[in-house]
């Protein structure tokens, strides 16, 4: 159990962490999220007694870290992969740590096996790749077989196999009743690893809730319903029936309806009862990644901008086309669609380029680039999102299609109809 109360850290006049209070409970993986420079590592360092808080306290099992008896046996930490002396063999590195906390030397070989570094145990860690360095760091954290584990960006530099391994390792550690606290800036990673999320931005707490709650509080799920274009009256009929049943209905520009507050089967039943045929009934879900980006967009310290190469570029030959910018590159806020209430927002949904038959298979996916989602495996509509996406959106999301016109500063407007129109046609064609 890690407990922070009013934790504040200032470096000179820069406040890295401000008034942070949270608890990390045993038996679960707690994700610690925030953009770069949001104070994650500083908080971790304060938990581990490396930095003294300017004010506030943080305790592990009721003790400040530096007062813990044999801390290494109670807390294991991976701070950063390169926190080792590069000239030392992996085994000697771990051996020195084991000796420091009175751990038998055979445990060193054990953890080397656990992280898969037994073959390079006698190699200098200077030559290790980032992924091997991470494994060595994880080995050091596991050395004392501790009850509390902290990992700062554990999957950085790991290969897919390693990422999967770390994911399962954390879950199994938590399942043994340990406290596992993992920082990351990758929401998609946390969505599949963590049970509980603590999100900070600019050193302040933004959210502290379970992944389940986080999803329902932050994702803007809706169902798209399309009635036959040939019979517009059916659309009105369905809309009123759905509203009567407690749903929230918004017409979309291309004639579809956006329904929130009703589960998919229920929509189907209502349509059936009111004798309306459906051409489309599809779930749409904002990914956790988006929810997280929306939450932290005001708290991002380091933003990328377009590389202007001012004065370095040669004049374009008359008539030559300037190169197309990659959509999203350097456009402020491209990654963070405005909140649902904001006009001009639509959750990202890729134009369906697949042939009609295959299109549905791809349909559920676009909103969720990661296997993010339903915590209980049920239809996400079961827990109806509170907020209603307003307005028919002429919007284009961070569409990955290379459509953004070079002159366009904002990704939002006119580029939109193009990707949206395409799928509509393909659907209509069916």
């Amino acid at each position: 159990m890690i407990e922070a109360v009013g934790l504040t850290k200032r470096y000179g006049d820069k406040t890295a962490v401000y008034n942070l209070s949270f608890q990390v409970r045993p038996g679960a993986v707690t994700g610690f999220l925030g953009p770069n420079g949001s104070g994650k590592s500083t908080t971790m360092r304060m938990i581990l007694g490396l930095d003294n808080p300017t004010s506030g306290t943080v305790t592990i099992g009721g003790y400040p870290y530096r007062k813990l008896p044999n801390a290494a046996r109670q807390v294991g930490a991976l701070l950063d992969a390169k926190a080792v002396h590069g000239g030392r063999h992996a085994r000697n590195h771990l051996l020195s740590l084991a000796q420091l906390s009175g751990i038998p030397a055979r445990r060193v070989d054990e953890v080397l096996g656990v992280v898969g570094l037994q073959d390079v145990a006698r190699k200098r860690s200077k030559g290790f790749s980032l992924g091997m360095g991470q494994r060595l760091g994880i080995a050091a954290a596991l050395l004392g077989d501790p009850q509390v584990l902290l990992f700062d960006e554990p999957v950085n530099g790991l290969d897919p196999e390693g990422i999967l391994w770390v994911r399962n390792l954390m879950k199994s550690l938590a399942a043994e009743g340990r406290t596992v606290f993992v920082s990351s800036h990758l929401m998609s990673e946390m969505a599949v690893t963590a049970d509980h999320l603590i999100v900070i931005g600019r050193g302040q707490l933004l959210s502290d809730m379970s992944v389940t709650d986080f999803i329902s509080a932050n994702s803007a799920d809706f169902a798209r319903v399309r009635t036959p274009h040939t019979e517009p009256q059916l659309r009105e009929k369905l809309a009123s029936a759905l509203t009567e049943a407690g749903g929230h209905v918004l017409p979309e520009q291309d004639g579809a309806l956006r329904v929130t507050g009703l589960a998919l089967p229920r929509i189907s039943d209502i349509a059936h009862e009111s004798d309306v045929r459906l051409w489309e009934l599809s779930p749409h879900q904002a990914s956790l990644e988006e929810a997280y980006m929306r939450m932290t967009q005001g708290a991002v310290d380091y933003r990328s901008t377009i590389d202007q190469k001012a004065g370095l570029q040669q004049q374009l030959a008359p008539g030559a086309q300037p190169p197309m910018p990659v959509p999203g590159q350097g456009q402020p806020g491209w990654y963070a669609p405005p909140p649902p209430q904001h006009p001009g927002y639509a959750p990202p949904q890729q134009p369906v380029q697949a042939p009609p038959g295959a299109s549905y298979g791809a349909y559920g996916a676009p909103g969720a680039p990661a296997p993010a989602p339903g915590p209980n495996g049920a239809n996400p509509y079961a827990q109806a999102p509170a907020q209603a996406p307003a307005q028919p959106a002429p919007a284009s999301p961070p569409a990955p299609a290379p459509v953004a016109a070079p002159a366009e500063p904002a990704p939002a407007a006119p580029a939109a109809p193009a990707p949206d129109a395409a799928p509509t046609k393909s659907e209509d064609a069916r």
Partner: protein
């Protein structure tokens, strides 16, 4: 067509079952089967010994040190033995020819002392160490003990070897007395090891290898070099003090061959070094406790 697929539920269930019950049964926390021992300075010393013997910089600096002390010491003895005429060496003992090698070799000890602490800051290893052992004072104490022992033993062995060979080689010179032997081997080794210990403390304070090494080499050489160029007679007293208390001159006191007749004599340099070490090491301990790692 009206039953769109949910890719997510299929992908998810593998992990979804686990957290629920585990979270609920958070009561009995995990306990390790490995017995927990109460740690003390001994554990830290074992750890620091592993650290100091498992990096190449130790072998390099000590290797060069031994090479310089023995090489230059024997060379000096040999040159003197070849060129000295009858009576040249009447007043001196052969021990004093070990001085030159030791003067150069002290830079190696300084470097190793600085690296023992500062390299952990340079590589980030210090964070790993301090997480494993949050009693910071214990870590620094262990480093000091291990380094001092290593530096002392290596200096004692190499300076003792040079002294014995030189005395054997230069039969014409005055036979050294017991106290002269003690000063030229045991005493000078303590002094060099203390010099290294000061460097270790400076490394812990500065936290930067190159910076700390530069400072220590400056401390070693600057007073003497500055004093050489103090021609003004009004600075005569200062010049004298700089000469007498410069580290090379203090080192030469152990061989009874000081630059001047006043100033430190006998075992004085050792007491001076001991005092400076205590102050600097004390400062390092205080700062280590107070500062962020």
């Amino acid at each position: 067509m009206s039953t769109p697929q949910h890719p997510s539920p299929q992908a998810a269930p593998a992990w979804q079952g686990a957290p629920g019950p585990a979270y609920a049964a958070a009561g009995p926390a995990y306990t390790s089967p490995i017995p927990i021992v109460r740690t003390h300075l001994g554990h830290a010393i074992a750890s620091e010994w592993t650290k100091i013997r498992s990096v190449r910089s130790t072998m390099w600096t000590l290797g060069v040190f031994v090479l310089l002390v023995i090489g230059i010491g024997l060379l000096a003895g040999a040159v003197v033995a070849a060129n000295a005429t009858e009576g040249d060496l009447a007043g001196d003992t052969a021990l004093s020819f070990g001085f030159f090698g030791l003067l150069l070799g002290s830079m190696c000890v300084i470097t190793l002392g600085v690296l023992t602490t500062a390299s952990e800051y340079g590589t980030g290893m210090i964070r790993t160490t301090m997480v494993a052992c949050p009693s910071r004072g214990r870590v620094l104490a262990a480093k000091a003990v291990v380094f001092f022992a290593v530096a002392f033993v290596v200096t004692l062995v190499s300076s003792g070897f040079v002294a014995m060979v030189d005395v054997g080689m230069l039969g014409d010179a005055r036979q050294p007395t017991g106290s002269e032997w003690l000063k030229a081997t045991f005493g000078v080794s303590l002094y060099i090891a203390l010099l290294g210990l000061i460097s270790l403390a400076v490394g812990s304070i500065i936290r930067h290898s190159a910076g700390a090494i530069t400072i220590m080499i400056g401390v070693l050489l600057a007073p003497l070099v500055i004093a050489i160029f103090m021609f003004s007679s009004s600075l005569e007293d200062l010049r004298q003090a700089l000469f007498e208390y410069s580290i090379p001159n203090q080192l030469s006191v152990f061989y009874s061959s000081s630059l001047s007749d006043s100033g430190p004599s006998g075992w004085d340099p050792l007491w001076i070094a001991l005092g400076v070490t205590a102050v600097v090491l004390g400062g390092a301990f205080a700062l280590l406790e107070k500062r962020d790692v």
